[in-house]
Amino acid sequence: MEIVHVTEVHELAPEDQKFCEATKAWFKIDFVPKMSRVLLTVPEFGRPYGRASRRAMSDGALGRAQKELIASVVSAINVCEY
């Protein structure tokens, strides 16, 4: 059960709404994931976290697809429903 109201995009600051649009393009989806909205609910946390995430998930020595697989394995080991 979700124990909080998950912030809607329109409730975020305008600059964070722009970031949400970029997130949709990043994931090639037509909605903003809950996690993005949760993180940006406190922008002082979410903005730097988002920068770290974007940096770490970009193609580098490892490809983005490999990194998405790592993320999936971490989620599986942590038994994370989300």
């Binding site: 949760v38 790592i70 999936s72 394995v73 971490v74 994370c80 989300y82």
Partner: protein
């Protein structure tokens, strides 16, 4: 869940990949559970652990077991059979079958062996398995993981250990359905 779905949107739509990820994650987690549970010492770094159990000596086994041990040594390019497989040799029939499954889980298929070892390392680190981190980090490096690649892998582990716990704390439900189109997998 979200990152399985996200991965499918990054060119990982082939379901063979996800079966392979599942197999290697399961095998890795099981081997780590046995190794850490029995306090088997790390294979490639100093360890203060003391074995809780006796391990068969590879030199004492039957011919079939020696052949199996040779195969395991060759697969990992090691002089000594890793302790977790020596443990299983207490029941050679079990070792024979489980080793075959392990070897196939880590074989080059839709995913290459290096990627699989990186994933096993990530699984081990997330499970806080001393044995698994030591084992799979060595394997990944041996197969070609660079320092930069290691940094990137750990950054992803770091990030997703953050968001999974944020999601769990807030009880977030998945954004994505497990199978968006609802079709049955091809097996």
């Amino acid at each position: 869940m979200a990152h399985s779905a996200a991965g499918k949107l990054q060119g990982l739509a082939d379901e063979k990949i996800w079966y392979e990820v599942a197999y290697l994650t399961g095998v890795t987690h099981a081997l780590n559970t046995v190794a850490d549970g029995l306090r088997l010492p790390a294979e490639f770094s100093p360890s203060v652990r003391h074995l809780l159990v006796a391990l068969p000596d590879p030199a004492d086994g039957e011919a079939d077991l020696k052949t199996l041990f040779d195969e395991i040594r060759a697969f990992y390019a090691v002089d000594q059979v890793p302790a977790v497989f020596r443990w299983m040799a207490r029941d050679p029939g079990f070792l024979q079958s489980y080793w075959q499954a392990t070897r196939e889980a880590f074989a080059d298929r839709a995913l290459d062996r290096l990627t699989k070892e990186i994933l096993a390392f990530a699984a081990s680190m997330t499970a806080k398995s001393d044995y698994g981190v030591d084992f799979h980090l060595r394997e990944a490096r041996r197969l070609g993981l660079s320092d930069r690649g290691l940094t990137e892998a750990v950054e992803v582990v770091h990030l997703f250990n953050t968001v999974t716990k944020i999601a769990d704390t807030l009880g977030l439900k998945p954004d994505f359905p497990a199978r968006p189109t609802g079709e049955r997998p091809h097996v």
